[in-house]
Symmetry: C2
Subunit: 120 residues, 2 copies
Amino acid sequence: MSNQERSEERWCCSPVTAEPLSAEQAADLSAVFKALGDPVRLRLLSLIAAHAGGEACVCDLSGAFDLSGPTISHHLKVLREAGAITGERRGTWVYYRVLPETLQRLSAVLGPAPAVSTSA
Amino acid sequence: MSNQERSEERWCCSPVTAEPLSAEQAADLSAVFKALGDPVRLRLLSLIAAHAGGEACVCDLSGAFDLSGPTISHHLKVLREAGAITGERRGTWVYYRVLPETLQRLSAVLGPAPAVSTSA
């Protein structure tokens, strides 16, 4: 499923400490967690996110790994298909950026329940 | 690796948008993301987290799934080994709770970089 096909309603979510996820929400979110469930992919995500200007090409990333270019490209494809990063070709290279809304949703789901106002 | 064996230094982390993860940090964190990268496990986590009193036994959880008890127990074991939940036997049942520090760490890693003060 592409990002575009995810309805906002399904793909929302309140923190898990506040209310249980529906089966559909869990299916959507777990697909992104699965993409992050690999040390190379998680490091790639962090290298892209923290790179100058918030974007990086394979040329910026491959030096950090003892892996072939095609292997790194495969991991980037998995992150892209999960909606964690996006890529834009400019000249020779594809430049990758994280999709902050995806990371923020995951962060919010795992975060503490928002404080409830107790004022009358 | 158990939670106890994780050093705080490795298992910290700043948001990925602030600085890249080390290989060791990525290995630790990706193991937890991998455990959450399954729709049944993510739903189990959310059902436990949102259950009355913050804890639930298999008897509270199995009704939400069309899965056998042993299958649910397997998924709970994966979550437990990843440090996402803890379990305590009381009488007939094991009662599970989420480990909020684990979820908070994951949430912080995916969250936005903290605002930097620009005052002189």
